[in-house]
Symmetry: D3
């Protein structure tokens, strides 16, 4: 099985974290490819940055999905996820959606621990988009500048753990979601140290991608996730045009 993970951001250091956690959590024989957006920002905290990341992801996915069994949008917030699900012939998963699915299988109410104050509003809207606001106990986040996006775990490890303890003790979290690709691997390194189950997006997405491939649920040929109807277009990157034509 071959999985393509697309980092919607330009940060190679984060792509390395993604790749390491993806490989560590994939079953034997599952081949992992991680691509980094050729354009965009270092990491997404806002809706506008997500808009850019979504388009970069779409281009990479259009160009490179062939030969893979599933595609993973590897940023929390899942920029472009629902859009790509319409046009790609294989399952598409995102970090948020996958982490939410894991959390829902482990408890009733979950909290999200995130890397910046600014990022929280966007995450809240994504949870609302999924209709899961009733199960969201809280979102808490680091409140310090991030010197290096690839080193957040090293630079802020203690504080992140403290936030995890806080959402359990004060907010009633029954499951913790560590949010954001820069935290890939942190759930693994915190194993056994927290009082409730902890999940994160990369490992969840890899595992659920494997499951969705195995289940063979079939692709939508009707309804709102079927390929878009054929219609005039112009000026699109060739790979995207090909996707639309293949619909």
């Amino acid at each position: 099985m071959k999985l393509l993970l697309i980092n919607p951001n330009i940060s190679d250091s984060v792509s390395e974290l993604i790749a390491a956690e993806a490989r560590a959590s994939a079953p034997e024989g599952c081949e992992i490819t991680v691509m980094t957006a050729p354009f965009g920002v270092a990491y997404i905290e806002t809706r506008f940055e997500a808009l850019i990341g979504a388009y970069a992801t779409a281009q990479l996915a259009a160009e490179h999905h062939a030969g893979h069994d599933a595609v993973i949008v590897a940023a929390f917030g899942d920029p472009g996820l629902a859009a790509l699900r319409e046009v790609l012939p294989v399952p598409v998963l995102g970090l948020t959606e996958s982490a939410l699915a894991s959390a829902c299988l482990l408890g009733h109410r979950f909290s999200i621990v995130a890397i910046s104050q600014r990022i929280q509003a966007w995450y809240r809207e994504v949870v609302e988009w999924h209709g899961l606001q009733q199960r969201l106990a809280s979102i808490r986040a680091l409140d310090r500048p991030l010197a290096s996006i690839g080193a957040v775990q090293a630079d802020h490890g203690e504080r992140l753990k403290a936030l995890c303890e806080q959402v359990v003790a004060e907010d009633g979290a029954e499951v913790i979601i560590l949010a954001g690709a820069p935290l890939a691997g942190l759930a693994r390194s915190l194993r056994g140290q927290l009082p409730v189950p902890v999940v994160e997006g990369v490992s969840s997405a890899v595992r659920h991608a494997v499951s969705m491939v195995a289940l063979q649920p079939g692709r939508a040929r009707s309804g709102s996730f079927a390929p878009p109807p054929q219609k005039a277009h112009q000026g699109l990157p060739e790979a995207i045009a090909r996707l639309l034509a293949a619909g």
Copy 2:
């Protein structure tokens, strides 16, 4: 006052409908500019097409917003709206959001009449994103192929009016929203013919844009609609890079 309306699609015929309705509904002295996306599809029905339209809109807005008092994303579904609200120094409005605001000022429950079956799921998600699902009586849509996107009103006028009557009689609509830029002007031409108030996006957006400019509520310097924090980026169109730098 100068308003910039951006058609996220490549259809000049729809831009003309937008321009005509915008000018008809603008107060005296309000100058209307309509731009058409240089790349994209003929009209948006799906999340993937909206992803493309959002990026095209962002580029046009970045390049051309200077000198305007407000910017309007001129497609129902509002592709890129919340994102642009973060980065542009002037109010940004969308057709859906504006039509919803008008509808909420005229009654409690509204229905949306739309141009294609496929488009309905996306519209429903936009209404949910706004948190207004409790006030949505129904969405109904044309079920015929659209020979010409600029001629939907002419080709399907009777059926659209019948759908309007149906949402009142069967779904309990207290207000009708005619959805989609291709229907710009239809509320005007149906005036007096329907048993409940009727609104559409272009005129609503123009009027609410004028109000938001007049009210001078101030721009977000904090919170999730403030400009994105400064951070590394690469490969972005120059106008978008300038926007991020101006944050």
Copy 3:
């Protein structure tokens, strides 16, 4: 264009604030009339006071709406608004509904800053009635006695500004709503001093009233906002009886 604003309370000092802000925010050529309830209380904080204010408003509206293009219920909480929308032949708007519409056009989550602790429960219920509870970040209010309802801004200006800063910093407000007719004009005097957009009811209602008149959406002849069905009645003020007869 002629707008009739009805203060559902007996406080002339508040009517003056309403009139000043209404005139300051109205477009040129828009004529503003403000009427004060002949019976009732000094200001509404409770459901019972709102019941009284609603009836007083209904009587004034019935007697005086003729010759106006729109009517505005000029108390936050909108006593009698939906009821009057059924019987008056012109658009009817309220301060809360209008401020909510403005806030929704400027951000996703809003907070309400109000003049008394007691008033908060009623405001929350009004927001819930509009179905917007998911977008309500918080309500915060003054906790001191109000010596003079017409002088709240002067007496409590610093504390009101501090509450505004608090809802942004602690509650995640992306837009601030200054609630209550006694705060009419405060958004204007705080311009540029707060980190997120600020709106209030009077200016929002005036602007949206102008828009609703301009859009000519039509009056309900069917559904729950059509005039009440003809039926026996007795003992009603003559103007109200006339309204029911005109249905």
Copy 4:
């Protein structure tokens, strides 16, 4: 125990139905008084009619509550209920609220069967105000003109029963609420004829009023149901002024 039921409408024939059902359902020794609004309409179907009925009810309650152990607002829709709960020194109940409480004790999802098409929107809003929309299976209503409001049961009995059967068979109702004071007594006469439990407002309100008196839960001296704060007022009916002074 003495209960005061106030018919917010001018229809003596409906007051008689209310009185008969109230007496039939009250426990031994419970004294029933029914008063009819001196001004207003024949029956309430709309928000404006409810506004009038609320004010009439408030006046009657203010004048006549003394000496009673509880007051019942005897129209479905409960005009003025929450307002009166603030100012009266005894429990206040309404027909809708009481029927909803009964329905919730008998099943999970309920349907409302009502007397006119027009009345449905208002009932839906009342259910939403109570936060019970998730448990509302449907509202169905007569669609014929009502020749005599006091004779609805006689004139439309078969159709009402058919509507009851329909909400069970088609809408999944687990409990039926017969809505509207003109249907007082119908649940009693349909006993044993319907496949799910049936409740109505008058008997429910009488029984729950007795319970609330017996439980002695105490009156609010704080929070939003405490008496309104003392403040200036003018022009109010003497009994209402007394209520405000007693706060």
Copy 5:
């Protein structure tokens, strides 16, 4: 009238509290029987303990309901309530459901005061199951170990009263629900000492049971509360088998 209250737990001391409060709140002539679960735990705080309590309650109800006019599941959380409502030929009520009904008749938003931190999540889920989360102001609970479940009121009386004051002052509770059979009688002993109405489950359930018997709403013969369809079974306690056969 004869009411059977079933304590789903093995604690005789709590059964005595239940019996005392039930008898104190029942109308004259109402005969109270309280049974204690022959197997299970001392008191229920968790979903697993509720599962055990539900089965114990089902067995007792199956064996002993005959001759009673209504059955009350006498633990907050209502283990097995909806299930028993399907199979018993008489009304079945629970403490939570009954206290919620009382609270909804006395105010708009309520808080729950409970006996242990652990118990809160389960209570929250029960409130959500009833669809009343919008009206839940807060849940607060004791945070000390309970030396004796039958002596909670004596051991923690001051702290419980303080929690009651806190939910009013800080959480906006308009009504207080004292939760848990071990608190039976506490509302009675706190009468007049708290600033908003206070209710608890046992007295509410007894009163509402009397009402549901008096109203004679009829038993479900259709829909999801009708007796389960006949089908093969094996190994069931004889009384439960009889219930299924009687369907």
Copy 6:
């Protein structure tokens, strides 16, 4: 890896379907054990039957979980799932929860196709318990008696397929959930024949159980899914008593 699936019902024929689908969908090297409830009913359609099934499942799980890496409650509706999650030292999954997780990874709105009319209300409540009602497009079900619970697929195959087509065409389902252990294997045999993705509970639960074991999220030692606090108990089956003691 070893998975224990517990059929909460007494139907060996359904256990065989469960075992076959579990083995077909498990990854290589995953060992499947299926146990059948020693007491209970043939299949669960109602809350009371679920109460019995929950207790039977708890006993089997207590006795037999040792040596397994995860436990699956193998009935749609998940009787006892949340309860067992508190007490078992390994991940516990249910068919409904797992199918919902799969559906949410494949589309936005899903429909449930079920085996009997009666079963629908219970399923709806389970979806509501998960907070996913906004994403539930519809529930549709067979309306014929089930001659043999192990042969539902053979006896009603055409009708089940027709229901699947109906939820897509009429209800807007983007994903179909085939509900109920008696339908285990049907998604597999319908592969490629339906216009949207199709999932069911057994294969979803097996796959997600494997993922939850692989992710090693940790067990709750705090919060509402931690083992129940130690307390007095009596009369419990030995295995359950051991579980409580191990907490």
